[in-house]
């Protein structure tokens, strides 16, 4: 017969599994929507706090519906965040402050400066993408989700996601003056 202690341990292990499975994709989605790692981290915690508080409901869902539940919460929280003036301000500043909380590699000063300059260039290029492309790119690159997984989360076919990923890469290449690669892989 399960004791209350068993139940608590089970809840924590179930939550850990859900957190480990869904955190990368949800964080990447929030990063793409908000553009600001700090704001994305705060909302990530809010999303999973809701998962924890409603764990009995979430754990009873089949995997695909659990995924949809979590992303719906994330979408709603982003909508709320957009309504907040403070978050909007942070969003407009977006990734501009990224370099300040990125640990520099232990290199020579001029190498660090070059790295920061390069990172700033990439950051500006990513920020300049349309939000939809930025979200998909972040989910693929930062969240390491496949086109099919991104499509499931955003309600779009995997082929559409692959097409948009290719467009995002082309836009980035143009921004960073990188010559286009023939036969570039557009998605997994």
């Amino acid at each position: 017969m399960p004791t209350p202690a068993d139940g608590a341990a089970t809840a924590e292990s179930v939550f850990s599994e859900i957190f480990r499975t869904h955190q990368p994709g949800v964080y990447a989605y929030l990063l793409g929507r908000l553009g600001d790692p700090e704001a994305a981290r705060d909302l990530l915690q809010d999303v999973f706090l809701r998962v924890w508080r409603n764990l009995d409901e979430v754990r009873s869902l089949p995997t695909h519906r659990r995924h949809a539940w979590i992303f719906t919460v994330a979408r709603n929280l982003v909508t709320d965040a957009y309504r907040s003036r403070a978050t909007r301000r942070a969003t407009t500043q977006a990734l501009a402050s990224l370099v300040t909380h990125t640990a520099p590699p232990p290199d020579e000063p001029h190498t660090r400066a070059e790295s920061a300059e390069l990172l700033n260039a990439v950051t500006r290029a990513v920020r300049s993408l349309p939000e939809e492309l930025r979200v998909i790119l972040a989910m693929h690159v930062v969240g390491e989700l496949t086109s099919a997984q991104i499509g499931e989360a955003l309600g779009q076919p995997a082929g559409t996601i692959r097409y948009k990923l290719a467009r995002a890469r082309q836009a980035l290449a143009a921004q960073l003056a990188i010559p286009p690669e023939p036969g570039m892989e557009v998605g997994r």
Partner: protein, 103 residues
């Protein structure tokens, strides 16, 4: 002919271009990914919070609803105070500079 007193100017280093988009994206991803230690700390902070079912079973009722769904007495008291405040505000005559109410 160059001036021997003139100090040689340092050339501004030109950042090397990325070889491909993947290289640039990997740099960005590494910069924005959350560290594992931070994720662990976040997970533990969340799990320290009471769950809905746990809160209903163990915690004293706070907020708008009691475990049975009925509103607590403090909620009604606060509502009564709020309504009283609104009535007082609504019935207060507007303050217009240079104007006095007279009968």
């Amino acid at each position: 002919m160059t001036d021997p007193t003139e100090r040689p100017q340092r050339e501004t280093p030109i950042p090397p271009a990325f070889e491909n988009v993947e290289q640039a994206l990997e740099m960005w991803a590494q910069a924005v990914r959350l560290p594992a230690a931070e994720l662990d700390a976040m997970q533990h902070r969340i799990m320290a919070e009471p769950r809905a079912s746990t809160a209903r079973a163990t915690a004293a009722p706070r907020g708008d609803a009691t475990p049975s769904g009925a509103l607590p007495a403090t909620w009604w008291r606060d509502l009564a105070r709020h309504v009283t405040d609104v009535i007082v505000q609504v019935n207060r005559p507007p303050v217009v500079p240079g104007f006095t109410w007279s009968t």
